[in-house]
Symmetry: C2
Subunit: 260 residues, 2 copies
């Protein structure tokens, strides 16, 4: 598989199931998104959850019930244009699939939420280290002890992603990522992992462990995986999400969503 040059080319490959890998690093500078699909009957409460927790669940787009072409990618089909999906029934994980056209229902509402892949490009441009890219791994993610604000039936602890760097680099990273408020924005914590309920950095709850070099501290950003925990915290008949790392690649540029 060669690397596609544009989001449209990538989504075509994915739709034909010729690209089933993670989307980390593809189409740099283009906004990627977390996906959550659920029945309309629960959509108001879930939208409320996202609104109340904008750092982990920044809303990029929400579609009308039954719609699958998002406003942020003309001609795309959310039922087939992600490399891999997770299917949950009654709150329990059932299977991973590469297409959900057969199970998508007319009452399903699709949520696209910001992803930290978007600010990694800006961090690299600022010569900040992204250890998981250096080591060819998935980013380290942890379930913290931080309670999100609940909404109706939905609740979750906040999940964070972690990137190790020096203190001076951490200051610069705060500056660089602040601009990207719709893709998690500034860090939620830096330094002592125990203060946010993380017992062991070498054992992430999602993704891979990475090396923290001498003189480096961990820096933590709110992570979109929080939305998956929240969406599956209630026993809904059907919830569909992307598979971690297998994001929806939009037509928006990172810069389209910066606040300054």
């Amino acid at each position: 598989m060669s690397t596609p040059a544009t989001p449209v080319e990538l989504r075509e490959l994915i739709r034909r199931q010729e690209w089933t890998r993670p989307t980390t690093g593809v189409c740099p500078g283009i906004i990627q998104a977390n996906l959550v699909m659920m029945p309309e009957a629960a959509a108001f409460e879930f939208l409320l959850f996202c609104v109340r927790n904008p750092k982990p669940c920044p809303i990029l787009d929400v579609l009308e019930p039954g719609a699958f072409e998002p406003g942020i990618a003309e001609g795309a089909d959310l039922r087939s244009d992600l490399p891999r999906y997770r299917v949950f029934q009654n709150g329990e994980f059932r299977k991973e699939v590469e297409d959900v056209k057969d199970i998508f229902r007319d009452d399903m509402v699709s949520f696209l939420l910001g992803c930290s892949f978007s600010f990694e490009n800006a961090m690299l441009a600022a010569d900040l280290p992204i250890r998981n890219l250096e080591e060819g791994k998935n980013v380290s993610m942890y379930t913290t002890g931080i309670d999100c604000r609940a909404a109706g039936r939905f609740q979750s602890k906040m999940v964070v992603s972690m990137r190790p760097m020096t203190e001076a680099q951490a200051v610069r990273a705060v500056q660089v990522t602040t601009r990207f408020h719709l893709t998690h924005g500034a860090p939620v914590h830096l330094g002592d992992p125990e203060k946010i309920g993380i017992a062991d950095l070498s054992r992430p709850d999602f993704g891979d462990a990475v090396t923290t070099a001498p003189g480096e501290i961990p820096v933590f950003w709110a992570c979109g995986v929080t939305s998956q925990l929240a969406a599956t915290s209630a026993p809904l008949p059907l919830v569909i999400t992307h598979s971690p790392g297998h994001m929806f690649v939009s037509d928006l540029k990172d810069e389209d969503l910066t606040i300054l």
Copy 2:
């Protein structure tokens, strides 16, 4: 009526109907909010409208159906703690009242949206002119030709507020207000009013006309009145809003909602 020192004191005066005036200029540095209440059956679509139009309708808080104590003001009661309300039935304006306890229903969802009063304090601190305050008037507001993104049954043109200033002051105003993204943020337009469909600056659609001095240009910010037009664009059985200028005064400080 003396000027109350704290939001709690102000809300108590309002609840006793001892303060029925606009809230412009009271409790400087404290976040004020637009209010929209509507039945739960339409709340998802209206929340979607706000999410899709964050400049005119920045979401500060959304309450569960039937709830009236907001998360941003402990002990407050949205049914009585605004100086004046507007009541709409089947999309038509019915009356203005000072309390809605008798008509509030268990299925009503309350939305609190950001208000530009919040950045006026920061503009004054930066020595930028706010002509309507100088002239003791309400801010000038206009319905533009700009279409908001529709959501379900809700649609609206964007309403803007206008403040005249020099070009150099306009540049500074962009910088100052950018920080306040949850209270309308940076301007949506500056200069030629006709470009956004405003025919005559001397005839605002809401509020009062103010003087534009020689050498000044109009600077336009998205305005929360947009949410009232949208909420009443569909013939819902009951919609309650604040009366223009008679906002909900929260416990949050302006600085609590800045992005940097």
